[in-house]
Amino acid sequence: MSKPFSVVIVGVGGQGVLFVAQLIGEAAMAEGKRVVMSEVHGMAQRGGVVTATVRIGDSVKSPLAAKGEVDVLLGLEPLETYRALPCGSATTRVITSDEPAIPPGVSMGFETYPALADIVGGLKKATALVKVIPSVKIAGELGMPVVANVVMLGSFAATEGCPLKRESFAKAMDNLLGEKARAVNVKAFERGFEAGMV
């Protein structure tokens, strides 16, 4: 029996955390793997933190990962990536977007948003495996900033240790997207995959 694989996806309400998690789950199902996912709905989505977990493996029952058992932390927002870091261990691979979403306390001047260099530096100090993806810049080049989440999914798929095949994500997108939306999402995925290979 193989060790379960766990990925935690974090971000801010509206960034598409749940959609990314669902695509990973559908991709696992397309490969006939046992998969369980946990998502957050309701109050937390009004601009709050959104977290989803996907776990894959024969022995998986819990929709939540145990401490230190997170293989990949996929962050759609750098501050939230950092905040979620305690779920990982020294071997956790961290893939994060570099595009901050400013919380209201910061815009109102009560709090400050840390410098991106400090966030990335902190991530790198905690675990050696950190990739920073300019997801919004890449999505912007495709003319659709909202697909930044699927760019991040592409980088996840390219990451060593991801137990799912590249083509399984294409199948997942077939299942969940209409023809028009699919084209740009597939592009975003491919661009993210390239960025994730580096």
Binding site: R34, K61, S62, K67, A90, T92, S107, M108, T112
Partner: protein, 621 residues
């Protein structure tokens, strides 16, 4: 065809727990369902609203949980398989009917789903509604995963008919919002039409009937216990050779403990209880008889643990029980594998908890949920705060359940008291009597008004309570996902309906001062509030403006969406827009100017009224 109505038996779909529940209900022959939306149960209703017509079943969003409950209970009395579902606190609203339906019993299978919320992800408390099952003498099913939730729902209607009792399906957030592959079964033709066969000696609960029915209920529960002893939902699993360590687990707690003993190679046996009330007493006593140690894993209250501990005194007095009484498990919050590892580790003297990262301490800003950019509630609160002038600090903001509760955050600070749905207006009567020198302001939304905001208003007029009652009419039930309500002129299944007029209802309650305002007119709204505050009796303001998420969507479709900008020449960086209005789309730039984040702005443009230097203007491309 909707994917959830796929007729391919054996096909696997990647379903949210709530979708698995809806599909399972249809496979179980459910024909009539009624509900009031409430997270974590909301997506069950959204799913039925989407597919009910195509599936040939009836679904309604009722005005509140008690109404929904009674609609479904009556349908069951007509022999139709019926379903009502709600969040845990919704069952408090329906509890009056709930307690007595156990006495009348059912004809058509009747399933009541309570979605509990350990850890209060989106609720005001974390009550354990399995106590309601003990209180009323109603059987409980507790699923652990999506497939089981689907299967239990499928079978619950037939079980309800067999026992002539309603079935309480008790889920938790982590079950409702779990997603996993679910294997589909056949979809039967729903039998939506029944017949009410009169039987007043059973269905009219006058004292003479009720006394007799109570005895019948106890007999039915005795039958339910017999059923529980051999039902498929209660099963024993052996891990790594079994041994003298036993575990009794229910609900999602089972997932955590099963994966931990499996992964950590702990020899043990698990009795998984899916039908946890009535307790299968024989099965449990046989299970605990030869054990040295028993671990009971159930989130929230020690309902199973206390019953089992009482049994163990006779069956196995030396049994060491690891649970809440022993201090190993908490009565608070949801569990996970770490909670189980820590408790088991302490009991077995084995450290199982994994190492986690302790990142270098960085001062991280918080990210609480907030009113959306452009939300009309923000504009209403802004005007109220202006109208109150120096009295803001002593004014009592009696809030309610909905998006507008998020006005609790600065700079609005617009929530001082809240108990439950409808408490804003009811409690304001108490504030008016006990704290007459403090201005009292009640706030609730349109859907909450129909749910439980009317009787409190009648009470306020009747008993001459003086306060200002605001109905934040954003033309939808926003917080739970934009479900329709009686004020919107359409039903859950998309049919046109009478559009209940809140103003007419308020006037009919006997209120003299009633005004409808557009909250996006800040000055006009503040002026009306000044007038309302001067009234000697209850006054009502209906702040009517569609939820900005719907408005922005419509404007984008109609290509009338407006973009806004701050003119850097005019901005004096006074921060008033941020400090007093606080829309999350506004931010202070490093250039010492305020900016509008175009990715967040929903285009309402109200902030332009707040700026004293007229620096905010429409952005022409």
């Amino acid at each position: 065809m909707d994917t959830l109505l796929d007729k391919t038996v054996g096909k696997k779909l990647f379903l949210l727990g709530n979708e698995a529940i809806a599909r399972g209900a249809l496979e179980g022959g459910m024909a009539i369902a009624a509900a009031y939306p409430g997270t974590p149960s909301s997506e069950i209703g959204n799913t039925f609203a989407r597919i009910a017509k195509e599936a040939g079943v009836y679904f309604e969003f009722s005005t509140n949980e008690k109404v929904a409950f009674e609609v479904a209970a009556a349908a069951s009395a007509c022999g139709v398989r019926s379903f009502t579902f709600m969040k845990h606190v919704g069952l408090n609203v329906a509890a009056d009917a709930y307690m007595t339906v156990a006495y009348t019993g059912v004809r058509g299978g009747f399933v009541i789903l309570s979605a509990d919320d350990p850890s209060c992800h989106s609720s005001q408390n974390e009550q354990d509604n399995r106590y309601y099952a003990l209180l009323a003498n109603i059987p409980v099913l507790e699923p652990s995963d999506c497939q089981e939730a689907h299967d239990m729902m499928r079978d619950a209607f037939a079980l309800s008919e067999k026992l002539e009792l309603p079935i309480l399906m008790r889920t938790v957030t982590r079950m409702n919002h779990m997603r996993a592959p679910v294997t589909l079964g056949p979809l039967p033709e729903p039998k939506i039409k029944g017949k009410y066969v009169k039987d007043p000696g059973r269905f009219v609960v006058v004292p003479a009937t009720a006394r007799k029915s109570h005895g019948i209920l106890l007999q039915r529960m005795a039958k339910a216990t017999e059923y529980a002893e051999k039902c498929q939902w209660n099963r024993i699993e052996e891990y790594h050779g079994g041994g003298k360590l036993g575990i009794i687990a229910a609900g999602v707690g089972y997932n955590y403990v099963a994966e931990v003993v499996d992964g950590q190679k702990i020899p043990s046996r698990i009795l998984k209880l899916g039908l946890s009330n009535p307790l299968p007493t024989k099965q449990v006593s046989d299970f605990i008889k030869g054990l040295d140690t028993l671990v009971v894993v159930e989130e929230m209250e020690p309902i199973l643990e206390q019953q089992i501990a009482a049994m163990a005194k006779d069956v196995n007095p030396k049994l060491k029980i690891i649970g809440k009484a022993s201090g190993h498990f908490s009565k608070m919050f949801e569990y996970d594998m770490d909670v189980v590892k820590e408790a088991l580790g302490k009991a077995l003297g084995k450290n199982m908890t994994g190492e986690c990262l302790a990142p270098a301490p960085l001062q991280l800003p918080t990210r609480p949920p907030v009113l959306c950019p452009g939300c009309p509630h923000r504009s209403t609160y802004y005007s109220v705060n202006k109208a109150l002038k120096g009295k803001k600090s002593e004014a009592i903001f009696s809030s309610d359940i909905g998006c507008y509760t998020l006005g609790i955050a600065p700079p609005m600070n617009a929530a001082d008291f809240l108990l439950c749905m409808g408490s804003s207006v009811d409690a304001s009567g108490g504030f008016a009597v006990a704290a007459p020198d403090q201005p009292t302001m009640a706030f609730l939304g349109d859907s909450t008004f129909f749910h439980s905001g009317i009787h409190g208003l009648i009470n306020a007029v009747y008993n001459k309570h003086r306060f200002v009652y605001t109905i934040l009419d954003n033309r939808t039930t926003a917080m739970t996902g934009h479900q329709p309500n009686p004020g919107m002129g359409k039903t859950a299944m998309g049919d046109p309906a009478y559009e209940a007029d809140i103003e007419t209802i308020v006037k009919a309650c006997g209120v003299n001062f009633v005004r409808v305002v557009d909250p996006s007119d800040l000055k006009g709204t503040a002026k009306i509030y000044e007038e309302a505050l001067a009234q000697p009796e209850v006054s009502v303001i209906i702040a009517k403006r569609a939820c900005v998420l719907l408005e922005a969507r419509d404007r984008k479709k109609a290509k009338t969406f407006k973009h806004w900008r701050v003119d850097p020449e005019k901005c004096k960086f006074c921060h008033r827009c941020i400090k007093e209005y606080g829309c999350p789309a506004l931010y202070n730039g490093d250039d010492k100017k305020t900016h509008i984040n175009p990715a967040l702005c929903n285009g309402c443009g109200v902030c332009a009224q707040v700026c004293p230097f007229h620096a905010i203007e429409e952005a022409k491309e």
